[in-house]
Each structure stands twice: as structure tokens, then as C-alpha cells.
Symmetry: C2
């Protein structure tokens, strides 16, 4: 097309456009035509970079998973008491979610039947499972309260963490506008304090 931009995309910049469109329209609702319009390059230029939209989905989700699974290999996640490792993983998961927001949002929204979507859901479940094991170990050490089931505690913890993707907008955090300006460190600290120490100063 004569109106198309010259294709100056790298794999990473094209991926970032595609992930934005997937999050806006849903993966199923996104066609190669939508991607072409959003990127301002022709469909054949996109096919020069990738085989199709499923490859873009897989690469977007891989980026989220690499960040999340990377947390589990950090020293703080591998050494020390289980409860401290769990706190480290909680804090760092929040930080990765906020740093890689569009990619983690894409991962959290995947619900589908293509091979890539099934793989993404399996990997997400695997991550949750690894954290659930830490919760169980910390409970067995007597460091987590015994009157909240470990499985339920894991779900509530992820509920709190994943919900950040619903409201956190990095462009507002860095501006001096009227919006909320919570930084990644403030949010991750708030999650750790709330989940592990609780909001109350006094107990009944």
C-alpha cells in the first residue's frame, strides 16, 4: 500500500504493537488486518517477521513466562525459610507484572483452544503450582497460619497480585497528573505487608 510506513520494525517492536492490539481486542478478535493497521505496515511485511498471529501470541506469552519463572530461580526464591522465599517470590512477581504489564496481562487473559493457548495455560498453572508448594512448605514449617487452607491462601495471594493488571497504568505512575502514582516498589511492598502481616494494627 502506498500509505504504509516503511517497515522499520524489529521483532521486539512489532511484538509490542501486536500485544497491545491483542489486549485491546482479545486474541480471537484480532486479525492480521488489525495488526497491519496498528503497525502501519502491510500484512506481507508482518509475514516477513513472523509466520502469523499465533507466533506473536507465543512470543508475547514467552516474555511474560520468562520473567515470572526467572523469579523462581533467584537466590531469594531458593535459599532460606520457605516463608521468606514465598515473600520474595510475591514481591518479585508483582514487580515483574508491573514491568512487563502488557505481556503478563496477555498471559492472564488467555483462555483458548489453540496449541499456544493450551501451552500458555499449562505453564501458568505450573507457575501457580510452584508457588503453591512454597505455601505448603511454609505452612508445614508453622510460619503460615494453620486456619487458612494452603490452596485457598495461594489463590487469594494470586488474586491480589493479578488484580494489579486491572488498574495499574505505568504512564500515570510516571506523570505528575491527577492519577494514582504508586510505584512498583510501593505496590509490591503493600502486597507483601497486606498478605503476610495483615492490614489491621489491632486484633480482636
Amino acid at each position: 500500500m502506498s500509505t504504509a510506513k516503511r517497515d522499520t520494525y524489529t521483532p521486539d517492536t512489532l511484538l509490542s504493537v501486536a500485544v497491545r492490539v491483542f489486549n485491546e481486542r482479545g486474541y480471537d478478535g484480532t486479525s492480521m488486518e488489525h495488526l497491519s493497521q496498528a503497525a502501519g505496515i502491510s500484512k506481507s511485511s508482518i509475514y516477513h517477521h513472523v509466520r502469523g498471529k499465533e507466533e506473536l501470541l507465543r512470543r508475547g506469552i514467552s516474555r511474560a513466562l520468562d520473567g515470572l519463572f526467572g523469579v523462581l530461580d533467584e537466590e531469594g526464591a531458593c535459599e532460606g525459610r520457605a516463608v521468606d522465599r514465598l515473600e520474595h517470590v510475591t514481591r518479585r512477581t508483582v514487580e515483574v507484572l508491573m514491568a512487563e504489564l502488557p505481556y503478563v496481562t496477555l498471559l492472564l487473559r488467555v483462555r483458548g483452544n489453540t496449541d499456544t493457548e493450551i501451552w500458555a495455560m499449562d505453564r501458568r498453572r505450573e507457575f501457580d503450582q510452584r508457588v503453591a508448594e512454597l505455601v505448603k512448605r511454609a505452612a508445614a514449617d508453622g510460619d503460615l497460619r494453620a486456619d487458612v487452607d494452603a490452596r485457598l491462601a495461594t489463590r487469594l495471594l494470586f488474586g491480589m497480585i493479578n488484580s494489579i493488571a486491572e488498574w495499574y497504568r505505568p504512564e500515570r505512575a510516571s506523570s505528575n497528573g491527577k492519577g494514582p502514582s504508586a510505584t512498583s516498589a510501593e505496590v509490591s511492598e503493600a502486597v507483601v505487608r497486606t498478605a503476610f502481616a495483615g492490614l489491621r494494627t489491632t486484633t480482636t
Copy 2:
């Protein structure tokens, strides 16, 4: 149609079918034809009950909102220290979410531009705002930790509560199958304990 069921729907039973379809397909993705197929009655029979799908959306969301705002009028939400009222509202919001799961799920997923969707988002924001005021009052009383911002605390609390809609399936709770069998009382108690007292038994 000769294959159509005789229309034995009441407004409530038709609503329950419509809300299930909205949650499966998304409101935008649902046509009157889909509703007709799911209910097994003709479109004209549906029009006998309601003016169209937006009326069904409004009624489904009203049911969720009636439950949620009802909590704010309960004695436990109106009397006593703000922190205890906040705990009551948290516990009861979880219970209403679980009892009215499809309707609250519909409310939580609304993102749109029709009058009904804008109204639903406004009312949801109003509910969140009422709870945020309780959080602020409890913080001012010195009953909530000062090192977590009240606005952030409200968001994390709702993150934990609303995430229950993602995994709770009542049919599994009542069966003796392999699935999780957490009851409404167990889940609401777990949320209150986690959010207000924290998961840790020991503090660092």
C-alpha cells in the same frame, strides 16, 4: 419454530439463562439469536418478556448491585468501629459474590459504551468508593496499618475478593468429586483472616 420449547419462562429463569450466555460469550458477542437458542424458545417469545438484550443486562446487573449495596445497609456495616464494619463488609461481599456468582461475574466483566454498561460501571465505582471511605476511616482511627496507602489497600482487598469469581464453581463445592470444596463461609473467613491479620504467624 416447531422445535422450540413451550415458553414456560418466568422473568427470573429467563434472566438466569441470559446471564449464563453473556458470561460465556461476552455481552457484545451475544445476539438475540444466541439467547433464543440457549433458552430453547423463539425470539418473539423472549420479546414477550423483555424489550431486548440490554434490558436483560440491566436486570442481571441490578441483581448483583442489590446484593452488594444491601451489605452496606446491614447493621454490621453501619454500627461500631470502622475497622469492624470494614471486616463485616468484606466477609459479606465475599458471601454475596459466591451466592450470586453469575450476576456478580457479569457486573465485574462489564466494559462498554451502552447506557446500561456506563451505569453499571458507575454503580460499581460507587460501591468501591463506599468501601474506600471505610478503609480511610479505619486508618484514621489507627486500626489499619499506616504504611499501606488506603487507596492501594482498597484495591488489593477488592483484588482478592473479586478474583474468587475466577475460580469458584458452586457445583464443585456441593459435590463429593475431586474438585475443591471450599464453602462460602470458609472462603469469606479466609479472605478476612488473610487481609486483616495476614498469613504469617511470625513477623520478621
